[in-house]
């Protein structure tokens, strides 16, 4: 929507920015013009160089070539301090907030009121309250950040930027962690700010919101600018996506149903956490052979606990059955040996040991079994041979099986993990965010792998935050909210927006039933 044609002057002009890192060129001739008072979107797929560009603009590192012009002045930012002084503020995707400090402490850090010998705490509080009120960013200055929700944390980040008097806000994937109504709130605040003369630049790869909220769009692909759209109403999401990817889009859609009636994995009344406030509340469902069961939900609503309970990683009550056998009291190892494959949500935290070579990483979770060893001793040759197979079959781009895992890109790390689970021929696969943070190519490959395995009879439990992925791959969708399953939806009828409203509790299923959900309005309307 282009509610007004921007006629403001250019506040930011980037010309031919080149930024190289050891072994790669992250930005290779980027041009960008941002007009005063506009909300400017920068889109591009993972690894296109958006974040690198924004960091250059924020002074976090210096470009190797090219010029940065802010308000008509050519700038050379040596550090974020210089960028701050030039009126630029950055809201990072991963919040730069110290959890154990209060809101006011986080906001004033580095630019404290008072003297070197005394912090003016009262002044800080007053100033923050003023800023918050002016811009509709209400938050209590004395709360510890750890006690805030995601939306509130983002407000604190924006307050930090405003506190420093920034007129240009850079937001790195600001909506990645927000639920739909929080996204609306965020852009309402940004709109109010730009109305008063500020400028906002945001990075996104969610095209619908880019088209909905941006005044202008710049598309980046493989480190280069491939286009600037000054009137978003003139372009469709599909055209924009093709600009971004440079080719036809992959689609996660599952074609023919292969769902059988054999129950592979079955959970009954799974519960974790304290009785008063369970983190997982009485969850029951079945996953059949040849079925992908999708779990949707805002992160932190019990998905991690559900997976922990199924994999035996955390204590829970209730029953888990694998092909009818009760495995509730089995160890994680026994469950994995019993045929459950597992793709953890955070590959670097849970799935890999980065300094170890690929062949040792390939053993993770299967180290007790052939061909990796006999349970007591490791079979190095066997493990390396198996790793080579994974590398070949699952398109892991690497010079060999003995390089450390940290040398792989995110997508290749993920393919290695998916590959090592699949070559073990699991009967049930628990996949948590299997394509998070991987490039489009790897995403398409992983989707294909999951689809193929499903059609050969694998039962898949898929937890994801990517609604397109969930809708496209799943045979059935469950929605989780506050630890409970609150809805079951047919993926071929539901839209992402509808799914979003179940996830936030705006809509809920009052009666049990497979398809039609009864919507019920809630007290959430004021937001």
């Amino acid at each position: 929507m282009s509610n007004s044609i921007e006629t403001g002057t250019a506040v930011i002009e980037l010309r031919d920015i080149v930024k190289r890192f050891p072994g790669v060129v992250a930005n290779d001739g980027v041009n960008l013009t941002v007009r005063k008072g506009s909300i400017h979107a920068i889109v591009g797929e993972n690894g296109a160089g958006k974040s690198t560009l924004m960091k250059t603009l924020y002074g976090a590192h210096q470009p190797d070539e090219g010029t940065i012009t802010v308000n008509g002045v050519v700038q050379q930012f040596k550090s974020p301090r210089d960028a701050i002084a030039a009126g630029i503020g950055m809201v990072f995707q991963h919040f730069m907030l110290a959890d154990n400090l209060t809101v006011w402490e986080n906001v004033v850090l580095g630019d404290e009121p008072g003297s070197a010998l005394r912090l003016d705490i009262r002044g800080a509080r007053k100033r923050i309250n003023e800023l918050a009120k002016q811009n509709g960013l209400e938050v209590d200055p004395d709360t510890l950040v750890v006690e805030l929700g995601v939306g509130e944390k983002q407000r604190v980040e924006i307050l930090k930027v405003l506190y420093r008097g920034a007129q240009i806000l850079i937001l790195d994937e600001p909506t990645a962690v927000l639920v739909p109504h929080e996204v609306d709130e965020l852009f309402a605040s940004l709109r109010a700010l730009t109305a008063e003369g500020a400028t906002a630049v945001f990075i996104s790869h969610k095209l619908d919101e880019v088209l909905k909220f941006a005044d202008a769009i710049t598309v980046i692909r493989a480190g280069r600018t491939v286009g600037q759209v000054d009137d978003p109403s003139s372009i469709t999401a599909h055209a924009l996506a093709e600009m971004m990817v440079g080719s036809e889009l992959p689609s996660p859609e599952t074609r023919v149903s292969t769902v059988t009636t054999d129950v592979a994995l079955s959970v009954h009344n799974l519960t974790t956490g304290p009785i008063e406030l369970p983190t997982l509340a009485d969850v029951s469902f079945d996953v059949h052979r040849g079925e992908i069961l999708g779990i949707a939900g805002v992160e932190g609503n019990g998905q991690a606990e559900l997976i922990g309970a199924i994999m035996g990683l955390s204590a829970s009550t209730g029953r888990v059955e694998l092909f009818g056998a009760d495995i509730s009291h089995s160890s994680t190892r026994a469950r994995r040996e019993g045929g459950i494959g597992y793709i953890p949500e955070d590959r670097q935290r849970d799935g890999l040991a980065l300094p170890l070579p690929l062949w040792e990483n390939a053993m993770l979770g299967h180290q007790t079994q052939k061909p990796y060893g006999n349970g007591r001793w490791i079979d190095k040759a066997g493990a390396q041979k198996q790793t080579d197979e994974i590398i070949a079959e699952y398109d892991v781009r690497t010079p060999g099986n003995s390089v450390p895992a940290f040398t792989l890109s995110g997508g290749n790390q993920q393919k290695l993990i998916v590959g090592r689970e699949m070559v073990a021929h699991p009967t049930v696969l628990v996949a948590s965010h299997p394509t998070r943070g991987v490039d489009v190519g790897a995403q398409a490959i992983i989707w294909d792998i999951l689809r193929d395995a499903r059609s050969q009879g694998l039962a898949v439990l898929l937890v994801s935050a990517d609604l397109e992925e969930l809708i496209g791959l799943s045979d059935r969708l469950l929605v989780m909210l506050r630890g409970a399953v609150v809805a079951e939806l047919p993926p071929n009828e539901v839209t992402p927006a509808e799914l979003g409203s179940y996830m936030t509790g705006v809509k809920s299923m009052v009666t049990s039933g497979a398809s039609t959900a009864t919507a019920s309005a809630t007290n959430d309307g004021t937001a």
Binding site: P80, N100, G149, D282, G300, R482, E488, S512
Partner: protein
């Protein structure tokens, strides 16, 4: 199927936090008071039963304060380091650097210069640790241990060079300090002098009456106010000052942020490396000052006189949940436990304290019982009864047992401590400029 009825309310995000956390913090203050009150009651009861009045005499508390402050200084050193994100296991080494410099300057100049020497020696150790961990990103524990191994070597070498040819000195000890640092007694409460007039000593008078609880509290207060050496007063002042610096100045805020989320500190244009260097310099200085206090106490440098106090300081820091108040409390407890071993009748005192501890355990067993934690209650009660039994059976504990007593106290207290501790989030993780996370 499995669709459940929901009761929607406001936002879906974290429902876990605010109220319960606040409640916990409130509880913390009040329970501390209750525990302290109970503690006084129990110790005073133990004094009456065991019949050794030295258990709560002002003399004992005075020594407890003296032995507590080096530990507290080490804890303070740990506080600066860890709050800025650097694990400082090298405290012991930095204390040793403090003692050798203090012994040197105290002998060469005077006791005041000994304190300065302690600061300087410790600071050198701290900066070395910063060089390894901040500039080169070495694992903090590894570097700390390297310093713990290097420091005694340097001290030995310096001791040989400086003292071995001097009269009264040897490679393992300095010849002795030039003079005393001076003492202070609070007027009107503990009999201090005021312009040459000796004021009354009401606390001392009550203490001598040996009244239940009342005399014990007077003993405590008088121990903390009578015949204090000036270095101890400075040390207590440093703890208070450090609280102010860390929580009421911009420098302190930046320091704490570097220990919680260095990328945030960095992204706002504050150099994490610089902050951590400064914090390590302060940390080393505090540890060295702790060493200097010990040199003043024994009036000379002695090899090995730190005796693990750097590590005890770390334990108090953990015990105090990385806050100065709690840290001081922990140091006081350990100081008391090791202080009594320096009194004239340590065996009796240790016995008395075992009785007190056993009684405290029995009380907490009942507390656990009320909270329906039967297993815990059982274990605690059993240990308490063993304590009472050993009090009754062992008339005179072996002096080796007296020696290990303070360390056992540390072990028990650290193990028994509530587990909801919260160390600085970024502690021990090397940070390089521009890094995420």
């Amino acid at each position: 199927m499995t669709a459940a009825v929901v009761n929607p309310s406001s936002t879906p995000s974290s429902t876990s936090g605010p109220l319960s956390m606040r409640l916990l913090r409130m509880m913390d203050g009040r329970t501390t008071l209750i525990v302290a009150g109970l503690g006084v009651l129990i110790v005073s009861l133990a004094r009456v039963i065991s019949g050794d009045n030295d258990l709560t005499s002002s003399g004992t508390f005075g020594v407890a304060l003296r032995t507590a402050m080096p530990i507290a200084m080490a804890g303070l050193a740990g506080l600066y380091a860890e709050r800025s994100g650097t694990v400082n296991i090298g405290l012991e080494g930095m204390m040793i650097m403090g003692t050798i410099f203090a012994g040197w300057w105290g002998w060469y100049f005077n006791p005041w210069m000994a304190l300065l020497g302690g600061l300087v020696g410790g600071m050198l150790g701290g900066l070395l640790h910063a060089l390894a961990t901040v500039t080169f990103g070495v694992n903090h524990i590894v570097s700390g241990f390297a310093i713990n191994i290097l420091a005694p070597g340097i001290a030995r070498f310096m001791g040989n060079e400086l003292f071995s040819q001097e009269e009264g000195g040897s490679i393992t000890n300095s010849p002795g300090n030039k003079g005393d640092i001076g003492r202070f007694t609070m007027p009107f409460t503990s009999g201090g002098d005021l312009f040459g007039w000796k004021t009354p000593d009401p606390l001392g008078w009550i203490e001598k009456k040996q009244w239940f609880v009342l005399s014990d509290i007077s003993g405590l207060l008088r121990g903390l106010t009578a015949a204090l050496t000036l270095d101890i007063i400075i040390a207590v002042g440093l703890v208070i000052l450090s609280w102010y610096v860390l929580w009421r100045t911009p420098f302190g805020l930046r320091l704490r942020s570097a220990g919680e989320k260095p990328s945030a500190t960095d992204s706002l244009g504050v150099s994490v490396a610089r902050i951590r260097y400064e914090a390590m310099a302060l940390s080393g200085a505090m540890a060295g000052f702790g060493g200097a206090i010990m040199v003043l106490f024994s009036n000379r440098y002695q090899e090995g006189q730190t005796g693990g106090r750097g590590f005890l300081g770390l334990a108090t820091l953990i015990l105090g949940n990385w806050r100065p108040g709690g840290m001081l409390g922990g140091a006081g407890l350990f100081g008391y436990a090791s202080g009594i071993t320096l009194r004239t009748t340590p065996e009796n005192l240790v016995r008395g304290l075992i009785l007190a501890a056993a009684m405290a355990l029995v009380v907490s067993a009942f507390w656990a019982l009320l909270n329906k934690k039967y297993v815990v209650a059982g274990i605690v009660l059993a240990i308490g009864l063993v304590g009472i039994y050993s009090y009754a059976v062992f008339e005179k504990p072996n002096n080796q047992f007296v020696y290990i007593f303070p360390y056992i106290v540390v072990l028990v207290v650290v193990s028994a401590r509530n587990q909801s501790l919260r160390p600085p989030a970024a502690e021990g993780i090397p940070y390089f400029k521009g890094q995420q996370g």
